[in-house]
Each structure stands twice: as structure tokens, then as C-alpha cells.
Symmetry: C2
Subunit: 282 residues, 2 copies
Amino acid sequence: MSSGEQQLEQTVVIVGVGLIGGSVALALRAAAPATRVIGIGRNANRMQKAVADGLIDEFASELLPEHGVRAGLGVICLPVDRIPAAADQLLSAGCDVVTDAGSVKQSICTQLSTRAGFVGAHPIAGSEQSGFEHAVHDLFRGRICVVCREDTEHEAVQRTLAFWQLLGMTCRVMSPAQHDRVLAMTSHLPHILASVAAGCVTRDQLEFVGTGFRDTTRIAAGSDELWTSILMDNAPSCTAAVDLALERLSQFRTALGGGEASAIRQLLSEAAVLRRSLTELE
Amino acid sequence: MSSGEQQLEQTVVIVGVGLIGGSVALALRAAAPATRVIGIGRNANRMQKAVADGLIDEFASELLPEHGVRAGLGVICLPVDRIPAAADQLLSAGCDVVTDAGSVKQSICTQLSTRAGFVGAHPIAGSEQSGFEHAVHDLFRGRICVVCREDTEHEAVQRTLAFWQLLGMTCRVMSPAQHDRVLAMTSHLPHILASVAAGCVTRDQLEFVGTGFRDTTRIAAGSDELWTSILMDNAPSCTAAVDLALERLSQFRTALGGGEASAIRQLLSEAAVLRRSLTELE
């Protein structure tokens, strides 16, 4: 094998086959058709359907030692509060490398800090939908995956980077703490603000919303259970992010109350310049 | 003509041929090809292009008395602060009916309250883009148009309702004050919150945004000039809306700071239920 070629994992176990786990399975199918994919999910009927739909080769209703023995690499696609236990179980059973798709990293990586085989990751991709029926093979293509291990020469880190890259992602390495501070601003705060925007409207006003409201509040329809665990897990950084938002929103309040058009325009303009630069990046 | 048929306007003048004015022109073209469409816009080069692109039949760089004489109906598609003067000018020149597309209604309708021919309207449709190059013929189809005149038997109101219905809209009649209170919650507050979400992120964090941030902040890229005039014009209702958002955001702050998972989940859940009911309406 030349150095340019990438060693493919022979067997991968995906723990949690929802939107993210299902999309990992489909992306892996497309990129490495020979890799055997084991899916772990509580609901046997749904897992049978995932096999029938061609996402996974086989399934089990719970994670067993044999999965850790057979799979070289495991991906945990569960809500953040259930990731550490599952990762621990897989590694204890003999799995070489375990990565995850949790959107908060510090508490997970701290709990698994003695496990050299665990490489925390956050593929920044998703949707407000849930369930593997909404999984798509290109969910990760062209997106950023944050990998939270700075010892990039370690074999487990190398294999994790190769895995997410195989799914079409560009990897960025940063510490779990830095990840959580950045994502509080780029993901968790927007979710809270979308929820506030949706929560301020009454049912009889819904007829009068336009595309602006629909876009702004789309993610507020996401799972409140999942998002509660994300926000709780990243509470310190989210608190700081909400404080910044409260300050900015208060500036709007003051400017509106005082009829200060130039202050309103300044606030809108700063945000517009930043948002337009994102569109230009696309 | 049977009672089921609708009398079509012979000549319509559109003052302001941007995204909204251009889309009115295209929708009118599609629904009533025989109607002559005059466009008024300051930039003669751009207006020539609008004629060449087939949006309008003729143009003028400024509104002249002849336009009020020739057109039976005028639609003002200008920023809210420029609507009253243009409407006044058209009506003074002899135009029978003048409606508008302004997204704030109370100040406009108050200024034109002695003009029986003016029927304030707000077609709830739009985009974060601007310019008639982004105009589309079906921007208004299936959408709600709020018409702010409760004397619905008046001929000017009848013709205005018929006009917006012709473009595919469903009309709802309400007072200007009620319109402004509702739209502060369904449109102006979401714009402010989208702007806050975008304004809290730094340029070097932009790489780490996902589709959630993109959706939530999309409208924040809109014209800060246009939105400053909307927010200033509806300052009292927007102030009340921002107060409600500050209260809700503070509840998130308290719950995050105190580690109250059930309070966070309650806040997220209320908004999620409401937002999901909107998706079900689609």
C-alpha cells in the first residue's frame, strides 16, 4: 500500500442509529463499500428496518463485548450524556479506537481522559429532523469535523482523522474547552435564540409569519430532550454566550426606547456584514 | 361580466422596482398579461433593464402627475419612511386606488387617514435578497396579505383586495395597530434575534457554524437601512417584543446558571411544540 492510500477499517460499529448514526452508515457505505457496519440500537424493529434499508449489515439491541472485539473502530452517535459509558464499554471490550459525534466535548473528554483509544470528535453537520429515515449519505461532505486531541501523531488520533476525512470532512484539531467555547457561540446560542423567537409567538399569530420567522426558528423544532442535555453539558460556556446576547439585545432595547436610529443601524450593520461574509464563503 | 369574474386593472403603476416591486410586476404579468405596468425607479439604467427583462412595460425616473392620471391603481414598494409621500403624490394626481407593501402600517395609515383612496397593505412575503433580479412571479402565491382597512365595502378596499388576491394571496383585514403588534412578534423580533445571534459570533469562529446558525441568522444579512426604518417605525411594539424576549432569554440564563435541566427543557419544549405546529400547517 502506498503512503497516499488510506487503510480502511474492516469493521465499524455505530452505537445509536438515528439521523447522525444513520448518515455515518450511509457515508461509510458510499466511501468504503467493503467495510462491515454493525449498528447498535435499542429498538430491534427499527434496527431490522435499518438493515433492510441497507444502512447497516447487522444489528444488536445492546452493546456486547463481542462488538468491541470485532470492530476496530467505534462511533458513538448517542445524546451527549450517554456517550462516556458507551465509549468506555467498547474500549473495555477491546475496540482499538472510539470516536463520537457529540456536540459538547469537555465533559466527555474529561471522563475518558485516561482512555488513549478515545478520540472525541464533533462533525459539524445535522438537521432539525431525527431518525435514520432522514439520514443522507452526504450530510458530512465538505463540512468541518472538530477533533479534540492534540497528540495528532497517536495512532488512535490518526485513524479517527482518517475516518472522518473518509466521510468527506475537513478536520480541525482543538482542545475540548476551546471547542465548547466556540460552539456555544456558533451553535448553542443560536439554538437558544431560535427557541426564544419561537417561544414569544402565540398560536393565533402563526398565520402571520413569513420566511424570515420560518428560517430563524427552524432549529427550535429540534428535540428538546437532546438540546437540554447539550445545553446542560455546556452550561458554563452557554451562560457566557447568553450573557453576551442579553447585552446585545439590551442595546437594541435601549436604542428602540430612545429612538436612536443610528444605534439600531450600527447593531444591524455589524451583524449583516458578518453574516454576508459567511454567504460569500459558500 | 358575471359577478364571478373580476375586473382587471387596465394600468398599474409600481413605485419602487426592487425585490418586492419586481415580484409584484412579474406576478401581475402572469395573472393579467393585458395590464399595462409602469415602473418608477430612480436609477434609469436599472429601470431600462427592468423593461428589457420584461418586468415592466415602461418606466420613469420619478413619479409624475401623468402616472396618477393614467394608472387606476398604484402600488408603493418603497422603504416604509418613503411610502406616505409617494402615496399622497399619486392620489393627488388622480390615481383611484393606492396600496403599498410596507411591513409597518400604523404610521403610514395615520399619515394617510384622510385619503379614502389609500388602502394600506402588507403582503407577508420576501427574502433576504434585494433587487428586481431576484424577483420571482410566485413570491406572493399562497401567502397572507394583511389589508388595514376595516370598511371592506368601500370601492378602493374592494379593488385592493382583488389586486392582492389576483397575485395569489389570501387577504386578512385588521387595524394598523393590531397589524403592527402582531408583526413585531412574527417578523421584527425574529429579525432582531437573528441579528443578535450573528452579532455575537466573531469572524474566526465562522468556520465552525452549521446549518442551524445559517438558518437562524439568514435574515440578518438583509439591508440594515431598510430594517432600521422598519424597527424605528414600529418602535413601541418592537420595544414590547424585545422586553418579552429579554424575559425569556433571562429565564434561560437563570436555568443554565442554576443547573435546572427541567426549566431548560420546559422553555425548549414550549417553543418546539409551537414551531412544529407551523411545520404541520405547511
